[in-house]
């Protein structure tokens, strides 16, 4: 369920609420909590198999009791560039929302389009990395638990980035047509929260898959 319909429904809700926040905004926060739980369970899975494994990354080839070849296909360069791209998109998104709140629509459109472009660049970088891993390192989901957890988590995150880009496009067109804006800041606010959430998840994944692996 996208947050869009959450937002449109809340417009018909009562004007005064107990908390002072709109139903839609609390709904989006609850939705992001459930998303956190989803990623949390899969991150738990990763940490659990990583802890249970005698070495991480798992040994590719054992000779006797000795590990002859360590499995380490991840280069740090592309993911780091990708991280910078995604974090910058968080910054542009933040200022896009601030511009909207101040009614500076031109700045808002520019920053929103920049966010979308950066998001697409991130997806492109990830596609490049997947292709590289599959063709050069022969690492797929079915090979071992390393590949399985890596593609599962980064794939789920990629799906969320894709969903986020679609959400931002809806926001862009909707604002252009005057359906959202200063008078109805709920959907832009929801989109901003969602995009920051996706950013934050990536920081965790980056740490788990790249920074903490020797």
């Amino acid at each position: 369920m996208s947050a869009t319909s959450v937002a449109t429904e809340s417009a018909h809700g009562p004007t005064r609420t107990n908390t002072g926040l709109s139903n839609g905004l609390i709904g989006v926060m609850c939705f992001l909590t459930s998303e956190m739980a989803l990623f949390g369970s899969l991150i738990f899975m990763y940490l659990y198999v990583r802890r249970a494994s005698p070495s991480w990354p798992p040994c590719q080839m054992t000779v006797g009791n000795h590990c002859a070849a360590v499995y380490s296909p991840f280069a740090w360069q592309y993911p780091t560039v990708n991280t910078v791209i995604l974090l910058s998109s968080g910054v542009t998104m933040h200022f896009a929302f601030q511009a909207l709140r101040r009614g500076r629509m031109r700045a808002m459109y520019t920053l929103l389009i920049a966010t979308i472009v950066l998001g697409l660049a991130f997806l492109g970088g990830q596609a490049y990395e997947y292709t590289n891993l599959i063709h050069n390192e022969h690492l797929t989901m079915a090979v071992n638990i390393y590949g399985a957890t890596f593609y599962m988590l980064t794939g789920l995150h990629g799906a969320h980035v894709t969903g986020g880009i679609i959400f931002l496009l809806v926001l862009l067109i909707g604002t252009w047509k005057g359906r959202f804006g200063l008078h109805k800041p709920m959907v832009p606010h929801a989109a901003t929260l969602y995009w920051h959430f996706v950013d934050a998840v990536w920081v965790v994944l980056f740490a788990l898959f790249y920074l903490t692996v020797p």
């Binding site: 609420t17 609850c30 459930s34 989803l38 369970s41 899975m45 638990i145 599962m152």
Partner: protein, 560 residues
């Protein structure tokens, strides 16, 4: 559906024309929380009947040692689907979707839930989910690995099939149910936080709402985690991804951790709303303010916190670190404290009250007595040495049914007898209701109490056949189980007669003090003619009835 037959007084605007499409729009696609709540109830009672019939077939097979009513494969399928359907398709949707939807907005003085169309979506996801679970029977056999679906058994392909279609159906079904209940949880949480009427502070909330609040927070956090686990198992069955394959670095215990991180809180998702229902009924039928309002409310919250910290007590026999076993044992036993606070508060409320032993209170007393037994055997099983001995035996089956049948199902029927007049506008026959209670209470105990004994004597659970020395016990259990099943016929007969020609229900037949009793039975669309203003607690039986602001006039359409 029977809603039309009831002639439920829910005037959904612009649908006065006849025709079947108008009927569908009014009773199936309605966004009114009361209609959605009733639809949840009809659907989950339908699954309750099917899963109950499965249980009777299981008991038929177990009545005599060596009997071959069904093959061992089918026996496994029946036990798996019996458990899964009772939990995912009856207890949770009935309590949260049914009672929660119908009562929660009324009790907090709201016109509807925060997102009515999302509410409809979560109902519409539920019947297909249930049907998908049973579809496995058409594709070479349903899931066989038990409702817990432990790998490696659950990811093995049955001989002669390209995939384990039954297990795939099971996984898809539970993912659907999970999405549905997550949406409901978001909706309810926003409603309770944001849409309480004037004067309805947190310390004036009825205890059922407190219980629902904790329940939906638990649902919101653990159900997506279950969705993650289910997706992982689905990927490993369909695409052979080695999550549970030790040869490729996977781990079979991984599933048990991920599954129980959901399913232990799920036990509280099933019991907390039941406890809430009991906390509503006992004060009304004792004519006394509830003893320890804040203690009961905060003990729900404490149970909610502890629920996250105890999941591995289901895994003592699976092999976890000994120091972890000690931790989980103590954490589990601590849950007895908030649970005990509730039980003692209910007993203290009953003490020296002016008891009216009508059917809702009888079922509530049934709940308190049987649930307490289930709680005490829970302490047995939380102790690691006892659990190592009893985990694989009927003792555990007895414990589970005392908690979920003696607890949740008794609470559900208690609530049905309590709010039936409010939901349908008709009274039930009190004599038949009492007959139902006594039949159900006695046959329930005759069915499940002997399971403690045969469990301690060593009869293993999840078996289609057993040692002849347990024959006499099992025959007694099976006969009691048939009586237990038959006791529900009394309820269905009573319900049918009530719907057809029952006495019209007044707005407040039991003398309750919560807001739902201030509106006509059944309540109209939009619930309240005027916004109610609350100026006191929900169980204040010392004050005259109209302590809350202006009484809404019947049939007035001011707000709608």
């Amino acid at each position: 559906m029977a809603t039309a037959a009831i002639g439920l007084g829910v005037p959904d605007h612009a649908q006065s024309r006849g025709g079947s499409w108008a009927w569908v729009r009014r009773y199936i696609l309605s966004t009114d929380h009361k209609v959605i709540g009733l639809n949840y109830m009809y659907t989950s009672i339908f699954f309750f009947i099917i899963a109950g019939l499965f249980a009777e077939v299981i008991r038929m097979n177990l009545a005599q040692p060596g009997s071959k009513v069904v093959s061992p494969d089918v026996f496994n399928q029946l036990t798996t689907i019996h458990g899964s359907a009772m939990i995912f398709l009856f207890t949770i949707p009935m309590l949260v979707g049914g009672f929660g939807n119908f009562l929660m907005p009324l009790m907090i003085g709201a016109g509807d839930v925060a997102f009515p169309r999302l509410n409809l979506l979560s109902y519409l996801l539920f019947p297909p989910a249930g049907i998908i679970m049973f579809l496995g029977f058409l594709f070479g056999g349903a899931a066989q690995a038990g409702w817990t679906s432990y790998p490696p058994i659950s990811i093995q392909t049955p001989p002669g099939l390209p995939h384990d279609y039954g297990q795939i159906c099971w996984l898809v079904s539970v993912i659907f149910v999970g999405v549905s209940s997550t949406i409901t949880a978001i909706n309810f949480l926003v409603t309770i936080l944001n849409m309480r009427t004037r004067g309805m502070s947190f310390h004036r909330l009825p205890l059922f709402i407190w219980a629902m609040l904790v329940t939906v927070i638990l649902t919101l956090v653990v159900t997506p985690a279950l969705a993650g686990a289910l997706t992982v198992q689905l990927l490993s069955i369909v695409f052979g991804i080695p999550f549970f394959d030790p040869a490729k670095g996977g781990n079979v215990l991984l599933w048990q951790h991920m599954f129980w991180f959901y399913s232990h809180p799920a036990v509280y998702i099933m019991i907390l709303p039941g406890m809430g229902i009991i906390s509503e009924i006992i004060p009304v039928f004792s004519r006394k303010p509830i003893f320890g309002y804040k203690a009961i409310a905060y003990s729900s919250a404490a149970i909610g916190v502890l629920a996250f910290l105890v999941w591995a007590h289901h895994m003592f026999t699976s092999g976890i670190q000994p120091w972890l076993e000690t931790y989980f044992m103590f954490a589990t036993m601590i849950i007895a404290v908030p649970t005990g606070i509730k039980v003692f508060s209910w007993v203290a409320t009953l003490f020296e009250g002016k008891l009216r032993l009508e059917s809702p209170l009888l079922f509530a007393l049934g709940f308190v007595s049987t649930f307490t037994i289930g709680g005490i055997t829970g302490i047995f099983l939380a102790a690691v040495p006892v659990d190592l001995q009893e985990h694989g035996t009927y003792f555990l089956v007895a414990h589970l049914h005392y908690v979920l049948f003696g607890g949740s199902v008794f609470a559900i029927f208690s609530g049905l007898y309590m709010w039936w007049p409010k939901m349908t506008g008709r009274m039930l026959n009190e004599k038949l209701s009492k007959l139902h209670f006594w039949l159900m209470y006695i046959s329930f105990n005759c069915t499940f109490f002997p399971m403690h004994i045969i469990g301690l004597l060593g009869m293993p659970r999840r078996v289609a056949d057993y040692d002849p020395q347990f024959g006499a016990f099992n025959l007694f259990i099976s006969i009691s189980a048939f009586v237990l099943g038959a006791s529900f016929l009394v309820f269905f007969y009573n319900a049918a007669v009530s719907l057809a020609r029952g006495e019209k229900a007044p707005a407040n037949p039991w003398g309750g003090r919560t807001l739902e009793w201030t509106v006509p039975s059944p309540p109209g669309h939009g619930n309240f003619a005027r916004v109610p203003v609350v100026s006191g607690g929900p169980y204040d039986f010392t004050k005259p009835a109209a302590w809350f602001g202006p009484t809404p006039t019947e049939g007035s359409e001011e707000l709608t």
